[in-house]
Amino acid sequence: MTTITVTVNGKPYTRDVEPRTLLVHFLRENLNLTGTHIGCDTSQCGACVVHLNGVSVKSCTTLAVQCDGAEVTTIEGLADGAILHPLQEGFWEKHGLQCGYCTPGMIMAAADLLKNNPNPSDDEIRHGLEGNLCRCTGYENIVRAVRYAAEKMNTVNAD
């Protein structure tokens, strides 16, 4: 066992973990943050995307011990209290989810995308989300949702 301290959604946690423990299992099993999902074993699906020190990572291919001293943001930490993040709002407004299983990872990946490219074209949105699979929506409404969020965030930033 190794002792690590990780700040998750602004709150520090100190835990003993096996060196092989995956970040996604640490979040889900140790911290009970089950919003981050697991959809594959090969790092394709992106259901597990979280932010590690502000950058999106697949938590199924990140070891918990690698996150010692780091800051992690999960879907549970994205909203500002009761105020939804523009991406969460966009996914709701534009019917960007159906079963909801890929959604947390999709939103976290999209958040990183918009940070790097605040005004992406539809093609750039599709390209930016290539590491996240959705089986329900056909992606059309996910693109609309991300575009909605981009427009909203740009409006807010311009104010």
């Binding site: 889900r28 959809g39 879907i75 079963c99 929506t137 056909g138």
Partner: protein
């Protein structure tokens, strides 16, 4: 207040945002793997690396000695429970039924079949210990191809199924069809393969059982589209215990697409082990396990023949299909290539004679059962490819051939001669015309010719489809001889509480379809109450009436109608009570917009809330009236519904690389009345991309040893956002006369329409190279070979 305002739907027809979403976008969903119970054990499975083998020995001693391991069980330990049932043996023929046990006994018949289960305190330990179980196998010869499996001398999977044949089934008029072919001006035959697909819901499957020693009752949380059916099958067939001893709960389910309809071994072995060890037991598949051992879809090898006249009239369709059903029969496997396929092969066309013969086959592969569309995409692909082949052969515009052979509006209700219930309603040409107009079809051929002259290969593909939705009617599915023992009715209970709030419980099982929202829209309008006052509850066999669950695009048509029937009963009772409260004659009471008033005296009015209060406190009820507004309905529809439409795609194919660029995708669908157009469009989008995926990307591949080569998401190409097109949608509205909501269903339409739409476009693009047909998926390699083999 005044009540005499015109009844206007306030919610039906509105694109309301889904009420399901707030929990799901904030990470507060509750999926199977999110559930933790005190003292819960984790299961890891030992799975067969061989596609066909005898199990010689299993040595679990090392695993049992591993710290944290509580037990290891094998199939031999579980001989006190029965194999899983096959609930839908295809009709009118002998079915040689072989179903899986909770864990294999004696022989394994596909790669990934579960041989032993390891239970440990932690999932990592369970996985470690599973690798320590030593299983010795004697490999047996393997067959993975359905046609080859029926050949003399092929490896045999089951003693009771000679030549690996599950069943021989047919539909239609063979003699008339043979006669049509014998006298036809034009006859075309084509081998058509509908390749095996893996459904791939983003959440894999799993189950958790808690056994209560004190009461002898099981609670099973499961990733199921049909928990009531699971309760029935697991108690009556597998365990031989009363249904009342099992409670099944589906929490949030992360997509299903058919794969989560069925009864699986993990439900049985978690129940068995939880009872044995008196501890909760959890099993959740990883993706590789889902790919190897949960059900697959499609996998037909077909010889298709079509005939007709040189001026474009189709006179006959003859189909011989080998349907690969895998190593064992899954819950409803034989029903898919028969009832849901063979009875609809003539599609939207008035074909005078048609005949379909299906041979169901065992092979050393994962079980095949319903996958989105389930039989209907296979049928639609076949007829729409053959129509295009026919059009090419006689040199006629494929849109024109379709138009000439469409079933006409006055033909409904239409009998297709294949034993399907009559098509309810349809008007196919307006949908075709709308799609052609959106695509700019009139100008396309010119643009195509110009592009070809410049070395650019464009193609356009048309797909006109009809699907059978609302899979339920006892008049069809439950008919003696069709193989399913019962009609697949749906249920609803509606209660109006003392406070006027409305609780609806349903046997439907939403897992992405937005039913909570859609159902609430229906109830709010029908009862005339605020939308937010309606709660839809589902998923728990304790507290919802028995229903057959969600699949077959049936939940609004069948489940929604059950809800409406219960609301109607509530309104009838409310009218009686209002008459009593208003001291009026019941015949003079009008119920609308959530109020009951006396005809001609709109000031004499009681709201549904006031009536519910009176019914609940139960002072002064009319003589003989029971307290409370609480009504249950079980709805067995008289017929299926038959949505339809036309999709068009435009592709550009690069003959040098074989790459297909899907430039436009246009969908005009008619699902009858739309309750929530936002949700309908979402269903159409998702369905379309699953069909496009079949046309361009996906193929489950077994090698000759029965190893699944496409065994992970690295190898099995479900589309990303970049691989998926922008989708242009529109619709026509032809209400269904079958149900009072006039709805037809939308869950599978996109998938049923889209694969052939894209393939027809690819083949059209390749026509200068002499390509008339190619098998799916149109991968770069296949396209390149097609171009360069000519």
């Amino acid at each position: 207040m005044t009540a005499e305002t015109e009844l206007k739907p306030r919610y039906i027809g509105q694109s309301m945002k889904r009420r399901e979403d707030p929990q799901l976008i904030t990470g507060k969903g509750n999926y199977i793997d999110d559930i933790k119970l005190a003292g819960m054990l984790h299961v890891a499975l030992v799975r067969s690396p061989y596609a066909h083998a005898t199990i010689k020995s299993i040595d679990a001693s090392k695993a049992l000695a591993h710290p944290g391991v509580v037990a290891v069980f094998t199939g031999d330990d579980m001989m006190d429970i029965n194999p899983l049932p096959c609930a839908w043996a295809a009709g009118r023929v002998k079915n040689n039924v072989n179903t899986p046990r909770a864990l294999a006994v004696g022989t394994v018949r596909h790669v990934g079949e579960a041989v032993a289960m390891v239970l440990a305190d932690d999932r990592y330990i369970a996985r470690d210990a599973a690798d320590m179980v030593d299983v010795e196998y004697d490999p047996l010869p393997v067959v993975v191809d359905a046609k080859e499996a029926t050949a003399p001398g092929a490896p045999q999977l089951h003693e009771n199924a000679p030549n690996n044949i599950v069943m021989e089934w047919d539909a239609g008029d063979k003699a008339a069809t043979d006669a049509a072919f014998a006298s036809a001006e034009v006859t075309i035959s084509e081998p058509i393969i509908n390749q095996r697909l893996i459904p791939t819901p983003m959440e894999t499957r799993g189950s958790i059982t808690r056994y209560d020693e004190a009461t002898g009752e099981f609670t099973v949380w499961m990733t199921s589209q049909a928990p009531h059916v699971m309760r029935l099958l697991l108690t009556a067939f597998v365990f031989g215990i009363p249904e009342t001893k099992l409670r099944c709960i589906s929490p949030n389910v992360g997509g299903g697409f058919g794969q989560k309809i069925f009864c699986y071994n993990d439900m049985a072995f978690t129940m068995w082990a939880s009872r044995k060890l008196a501890r909760p037991v959890k099993f959740v598949e990883d993706r590789a396990e889902n790919y190897k051992a949960s059900t697959h879809g499609r996998d037909h090898i077909t010889d298709a023949e079509i005939c007709g006249t040189k001026d474009g009239m189709i006179s006959g369709l003859r189909v011989k299909t080998y349907a690969n059903l895998g190593g064992y029969l899954s819950t409803i496997a034989p029903g898919i290539p028969t009832t849901l396929y063979g009875r609809i092969i003539s599609g939207v066309y008035k074909i005078p004679s048609a005949y379909c013969h299906v041979t169901g086959v065992y092979t050393n592969t994962a079980m095949v059962d319903a996958y989105r569309g389930a039989g209907r995409p296979e049928a639609s692909y076949l007829i729409e490819r053959m129509i295009d082949r026919f059009a090419t052969e006689i040199g006629m515009d494929p849109a024109e051939v379709r138009r000439k052979n469409f079933i006409q509006p006055e033909d409904f209700p239409y009998q297709n001669g294949l034993g399907m219930l009559p098509y309810d309603s349809g008007n196919y040409e307006p949908a075709l015309n709308k799609a052609l107009e959106m695509a700019g079809y009139a100008d396309f051929r010119k643009a195509q010719a110009e592009a070809r002259a410049n070395g650019t290969y464009l193609g356009i593909g048309i797909s006109s489809y009809v699907e059978v939705c609302g899979v339920a009617p006892s008049a069809w599915i439950g008919l003696a001889g069709e193989g399913w023992g019962a009609g697949l009715f749906e249920s609803a209970n509606v209660r109006v509480h003392l406070t006027g709030k409305v609780a609806v419980t349903t046997g439907s099982l939403p897992h992405g379809q937005g039913l909570e929202t859609t159902f609430a829209q229906v109830v709010a309008d029908e009862l005339g109450v605020p939308y937010d006052d309606v709660q839809i509850q589902w998923g728990d066999t304790q507290g919802t009436p028995f229903g057959y669950g969600t699949y077959g695009s049936r939940s609004l048509t069948v489940g929604g109608t059950a809800i409406k029937k219960s609301v109607d009963k509530i309104k009838e009772k409310a009218k009686k009570l209002a008459a009593h409260m208003l001291e009026a004659n019941e015949a003079d009471i009008v119920f609308e917009n959530g109020t009951a008033y006396v005809k001609g005296s709109p000031d004499k009015v009681k709201t549904i809330g006031e009536i519910a209060l009176q019914a609940s406190v139960a002072y002064s009820l009319p003589e003989g009236m029971e307290p409370f507004l609480d009504e249950t309905s079980y709805y067995d529809p008289p017929n299926c519904t038959f949505p339809f439409g036309t999709h068009i795609s435009i592709v550009e194919v690069d003959p040098d690389t074989g790459m297909v660029d899907l430039k436009r995708y246009i969908a005009v669908d008619d699902c009858g009345n739309q309750i929530n157009p936002l949700v309908v469009e979402g269903q159409i989008h998702g369905g379309i991309v699953q069909g496009i995926a079949q046309a361009l990307y996906e193929r489950a591949v077994y090698n000759e040893d029965g190893q699944l080569l496409s065994g992970t998401l690295m190898d099995y190409a479900i589309p990303t956002a970049e691989m998926s097109p922008h989708i242009e949608t529109d619709h026509t509205v032809t209400p269904s006369p079958v149900n009072p909501l006039g709805v037809k269903g939308a869950g599978e339409a996109g998938t049923i329409a889209s694969a052939q739409c894209v393939m027809n476009a690819v083949i059209d693009a390749l026509s200068p190279f002499g390509v008339k047909h190619m098998q799916m998926p149109a991968s770069p390699e296949r396209v390149w070979k097609a171009v360069h083999s000519k």
